[in-house]
Symmetry: C2
Subunit: 168 residues, 2 copies
């Protein structure tokens, strides 16, 4: 299997995995393409390599820049923008985890916390049961959220390494 075929297979696999976990396929594929590219790529090169439109390429790149997992690279004497991927998997995996926690988990957690408080008062059997259920889920979610936060903000997944060793 040659490089081109391997790269394509990697890009496809990464795109499919992203899709299943709520990351846009194009976004995942652009990241994958940059990950397996040694040199910085321009929007045009990316469009051509993945056969996606300019709009799609642009939006995917902006999102990855937003996440902080790719960087702009200026090439002297060229007006085009070029992009490179952060190659340290720990760095970008933790950034994505933290970003999704903040954007998706935290808002849900705040509703759960609110519901936990609101259901506390009810002293009927049904009310107590509801409160218990919401309390359990709120606590669990909160613990997971804290775990992600702590791991992501510790230097270079140092904590995650400890965890993996603990488990191994």
């Amino acid at each position: 299997m040659n490089l081109t075929v391997s790269k394509q297979k990697f890009i496809d696999t990464w795109g499919a995995l992203g899709s299943e976990w709520g990351i846009n396929k194009s976004v995942a594929q652009v990241q994958a393409l940059l990950l397996v590219s040694d040199d910085p790529l321009s929007t045009d090169t990316i469009m051509e390599a993945l056969t996606i439109s300019r709009g799609n390429a642009n939006m995917s790149l902006r999102q990855l820049l937003d996440y902080g997992i790719i960087y702009k690279k200026v090439i002297a004497g060229d007006r085009k923008e070029y992009f490179v991927a952060e190659k340290d998997i720990w760095k970008w995996a933790l950034k994505i985890a933290l970003m999704r926690k903040q954007k998706e988990i935290d808002p849900a957690l705040s509703v759960l916390t609110e519901l936990e408080a609101e259901t506390k008062k009810d002293k009927s059997a049904e009310g107590k049961a509801l409160h218990q259920t919401i309390h359990d889920i709120q606590t669990f979610t909160d613990q997971l959220s804290t775990l992600v936060e702590r791991v992501a903000t510790s230097t270079r997944g140092e904590l995650l390494l400890k965890l993996l060793k603990l488990i191994a």
Copy 2:
């Protein structure tokens, strides 16, 4: 806020959170409804409570049964099927994690492992760089997969508790 409103808010929050993480909204809502219901519910009750079709209710229930996070409950003298949710959050959270790992991560991991092996031979600079990138991602994914596996198959998230304490 009364019970009905709290329950509805919980169901909506849970449905939205599920959607963002690749779990069908109806499936998440049916689980949420059963979680906040004290008594077993029939398909008809679920359809009415969530205003979803019979087909949707049926498919969502089958999927939750498949995951092993809800159970059938026979009510004496009634031909209808009734359903109750597993209320132990550790149990069902770990089951979902394990199921998604097996269905989504493991197939991707096997492609990554295959690519890792295939790119090992190439001795060009570009080939070496590609191999390194794929190697890193394969290793990382494999470790995460192992982590989920170990935690999920240990008794009642005992390991996860250790982790949380380690972090706290």
